[in-house]
Symmetry: C3
Subunit: 271 residues, 3 copies
């Protein structure tokens, strides 16, 4: 059996060696496993943000083992999970704090779930604070090498998994109250408003939109892409994951609007 690829996402950052030591552990156990780093730049302890990024990214990744660690409750009684999704032969490995949930949903739900907290694959002695190294990475590596999921831990019920609620926009007569899900390196602002919500709203591609934030109200074009507006102008657009987003062409929308993840944005048809 060929070794399966492992994608890896975490909030370990790049200054410390945490992600690197997990890669080292994987290489010891499964020398041929290809590790695909999705990002280790998730803000520390930002479980919800990690969950959204993971769910957005996995459909683009090859089926395999999907390791994800954003784990503020490490050392608490929270469970450690390995979960096979129904739609493809994909196994997600990470803490049972909701981090994996949106990705599991997007991949068709739970086919099989095990609690790997006391996995026979874990490293000994196990530390109280670095389960990425001692539990999640070794479990992922053994699964990549062909171990059976049932051998990785104790079978648990799908309904027992921790779920998280992703924020939802409030769609009202003449306006939408949306929330900032993320701000990327370019200052582009992804909202919790998605393409599928659009028919319920009064917002239409090509028509101007009024954008109200704590810092005031601005007008934006609802356009296809950055280059549809002059440099420096604000636009609303459908981003590459199907979320509505705000950008300033060649500028920094988050900076201009003074908004951060979690902030509120009110959108209204304008003109």
């Amino acid at each position: 059996v060929a070794t399966r690829p492992i994608t890896f996402l975490s909030d370990y950052g790049y200054e410390d060696e945490f992600a690197g030591v997990c890669r080292a552990v994987i290489a010891r156990i499964a020398p041929d496993a290809r590790v695909i780093d999705l990002t280790h730049g998730i803000e520390r302890h930002a479980v919800e943000r990690g969950a959204v990024v993971l769910a957005n990214a996995l459909p683009y990744a090859p089926a395999g083992i999907h390791l994800a660690v954003v784990d503020p409750g490490v050392g608490s009684p929270r469970r450690a999970l390995a979960v096979r999704a129904t739609s493809e032969d994909r196994v997600l490995v990470g803490p049972d704090n909701g981090l994996l949930w949106p990705a599991i949903e997007r991949l068709g739900g739970v086919a099989q779930a095990v609690d790997v907290s006391l996995s026979a694959f874990r490293l000994e002695p196990i530390s109280a604070t670095f389960h990425g190294r001692d539990v999640f990475a070794p479990v992922a590596a053994h699964l990549a090498g062909g171990a059976a999921l049932a051998d990785a831990g104790e079978q648990i019920g799908a309904e027992s998994l921790t779920r998280i609620e992703i924020p939802q926009p409030s769609i009202e007569e003449g306006r939408v109250v949306a929330h900032v899900v993320s701000v990327d390196r370019y200052g582009n602002v992804a909202l919790d408003l998605a393409e599928r919500h659009l028919p319920e709203t009064d917002l239409r591609l090509g028509r101007p939109v009024s954008v109200e934030t704590a810092a005031g109200t601005r007008s934006a074009a609802f356009a296809l892409t950055f280059a549809d507006v002059p440099a420096g102008d604000l636009l609303l657009y459908l981003d590459s994951y199907g979320s509505l987003a705000l950008a300033v062409n060649r500028g920094d929308a988050a900076g201009d609007l003074g908004i951060d993840p979690g902030g509120e944005v009110v959108l209204r048809p304008a003109g």
Copy 2:
């Protein structure tokens, strides 16, 4: 045919998952392709800086596919390129905004160029804002896997490629007006003055140099390496890519001199 390696440079940064999703797309299409990340830390939208780094780095990389994405014009009518260079079997993939040009020149010019904007290899549906994921990475992966360049898009003329001008120093009687090309993590300042310019100047290795910036004038040794001057002293030296550069031994020349990329530095023989 063995899968070819893919080098990858971008301005995607490390906080977001953009580079990781491109790696995931590559792994889906070409599971055996080795991806060599050159850097994803190019300043956002800094096409010229990315072009210089790419041209400096590629001669050290194995021949293969060279993916590069610094793309402020994504979604505009700018073309997407795959270009085979003449000197080795190297194919560069990226936006037609000049990013690839200095590297192509250094690799002997254009052997064959195709516009991959509407490539049969692109992902569908294609987004308006993430062509790294939807166009460039899949084209690079298919080429790494052995696809013919002619099958990646529409043949175009070499003369139609967008070129960029790298800044040039002004070499005058008794002085050189150079420009800051980059500042690295150590505060070392690379200038647009290169080893090949030296014979035209009055600057000689071993002789002191007067260094004038907006912040004032300082004296520097023109030395071989950092350790040739005491800790804290300024030196002019030939850096590892053949550019003249300023450094402070165990210090931070850019910080001390108060200069940033694009800034002007006047060099004169001193003493």
Copy 3:
């Protein structure tokens, strides 16, 4: 003979292409070598910090070639090393400034050491300032590909290697004066006090500890893990490498205590 894996640690950071160019050089020489990036986020020129991280990480990595570059003396007469450790077939490659020493000690000491400054494997022309690219990476790649250590340079005596002293805590009657070794992304503070020192001290797991820093004195629980104290509370715990460390559950201990690497912390039994 199978190509051996190469771990890679440096202070090159992520903004520049330095680590990427070293990876490119390795891929040219040893196309099949797996490169495991431990971290490139070591603070610039922080030889001692790099040494501690390397010594902590290598026991988790597969035996192979261990490339490490934190090299403020590049271009000075400091030697360049390749050293085989006694306990496994591991070869460490890096500058002779003490960076490799704690890892070598942890791996059982020196079995064979060569000076690779003038190695036949180095790139020509060799730069004065980028020996990662021109010396260390090519030597590591040739060794990964099966070259004999004796062919990489000149044999030297084990006793001639540069050593560094890691700071030691001062254990006194009724108090311990410890030093901050590192602060990680989560604000957790590792001390030079280790598990093996505990029996000599008056500190006992489960008993409260008084923590004195320049900013004042606070009380902490000496607990197993973060979740043993309420969110926001300070704790002393044994971290995942066996060092005593300070953390604030779901908070930022270094920020709260106002301490940085090198700082002093006085611990006393409390209550």
